[in-house]
Amino acid sequence: MREGYGSPWPHRALVVFSLLVIFFLVAPLAILVIQSFTNESYLSFPPPSFGFRWYREVFTSSDWRDAVGLSVLIAILVTPLSLILGTLAAFGLDRGPMRGRQSLYAVMISPMVLPHIVLGLGIFRIALQLNIEDTLLAFVPAHLTITVPFVVISVGASLQTFNVTLEEAAMSLGASRWRAVWHITLPVIRPGLIAGAIFSFIISFDEFIITFFLATYEQTLPLEMFSTLMFQVKPSIAAISTLTLAVTAALTAMLMFRGQILGGGRIVK
């Protein structure tokens, strides 16, 4: 208990308020997770009985397996491409001429703020024209348009704090420009690269609106969930949602603790 700082009431009110916010954010998810372990054939809360019935169902159903497979495949293709394109763009913005830098940056990250439904419509038109709708050739570039800006931002931020004399030191020691970037710059900005990669993966895995335009027979996980919901509300939805939640949470945790897990400790200036 804090004393001597005036009334404890504002402090208490803040605690209560924060708890309420957390409750409203977490409660629906918690209910969903609990419901996913029901043994009944309908959703109810609290469930009358518990078991893994719907997880078995999800893992044995070929529809779900195909959907998860496609989503993972797209995300695995999108992540490295997004990282490469975004990193190149960030380098260009960081090292290129000053003039027009701001506007170019704004254009590059605009897909983040444009309504995805508009983007989706535009990409759909192009895909139709090229006759590639409903294929990876459409899904992957479409996802890239919205994942690349995240890499541009995270790598760009790292480059801004990067000390360019490190590259010059490497070059004076006999490294060509490429080797200097490869051996020095990229390792030093690694936290930014990892953040960009994780963002790309999560966003691609989660993407619904643009994929919705492009897909007809092929179903990604979000699309499959949506179409299942359209017909009936079965507990399998709760099970697959819980699994998705687990993967996303794991990746986000990796993002938050990347310094400790992947970066080998912070680099102290």
């Binding site: 004399t165 010059e168 020691l173 490294a175 060509s176 200097a180 390792p187």
Partner: protein, 358 residues
Amino acid sequence: MSTVELRKVEKRYGSVAAVHSLDLAIEPGEFVTLLGPSGCGKSTTLRMVAGFVQPNAGTIEIGGKDVTGIPPHRREVGLVFQNYALFPHMSVYKNVEFGLKMRGVDPSERRSRVEEALGLVKLGDYSERMPAQLSGGQQQRVALARALVIRPNVLLLDEPFGALDKQLRDHMRIELRDLQRKLNISTMFVTHDQDEALSMSDRIVVMSEGTVCQVGGPNAIYEKPNSRFVADFMGRSNLFEARQVDESNDARTLDAEGLLLNADKTQELNGGNAIVMVRPEKIELLESETNRDGSVTVGGKIMSSVYLGSTVQYEVKVEDGPTVLVVRQNVEDGSISAQPGSPVFLSIPHNAVYIIPQ
């Protein structure tokens, strides 16, 4: 053959010349310092030698080879920066090894050379540390080892001690100079600190606004500056406008703003007017009028005195003449009463009067 030779080198940014028609040669084993005020083009010159800045005109040779237009990584130069620029994700050992790896030196030779280089800078026990775990002085020594291990033709340092505190800076000066002599490596050193330049260099290149003002040994630069700018930049000095009023067989008598001075006649005087320089530590302060051979003695009044520890700095107003700066060693323990207002006499030897050539 010079280790480094710059001929008529020019670098312009827009319409401004950062470096203008610069000629400079560094001989094997020589320690050359570029000295000058901020913005005079020292770093630009160094970076042209390193290859990070391309000159607009002129040629640069390193080790007898024309390297103008050759990228930095094929120039065989060792570079040390003010901010150390150690690779933060590599240990001290890996930092020093980097240049050898890039050159494809085989692993066993790499090990012995890295150990030798770390030994030179007395950091043999620190090879597994990360740069962030070292003090500023230690980091700069690693940077030095990293630059030396590749056995460059020339060592380039841009204000390497700028980030260190004074004591460490003085210590590093001595250490760098010893190391440089031991390895006999040609060195180009950039600083705007004249003490640093005077204490370390074989030759000093004084620069101003992109051009060379004077090149010479520390002694010549300090005692015989070739311009008012150099005299002013190199330590404290009394500078007077003077004209000749009399001359004898071996001396000229000059009227320096009301102060009558004798100067050796070996010094040329173009026209009747000149600027004369008297270094403040060469003037003696006397309590009573004492005439000495080869000196002039004039009376004056102490205007101010500043206690600087090892020295005391006085401003003395000469009767009907200028105010003169005098610096004395703090040895007498107050035998001169330093109260402002006390009368004193100045004794100025002939050979302390230097006529700046115009």
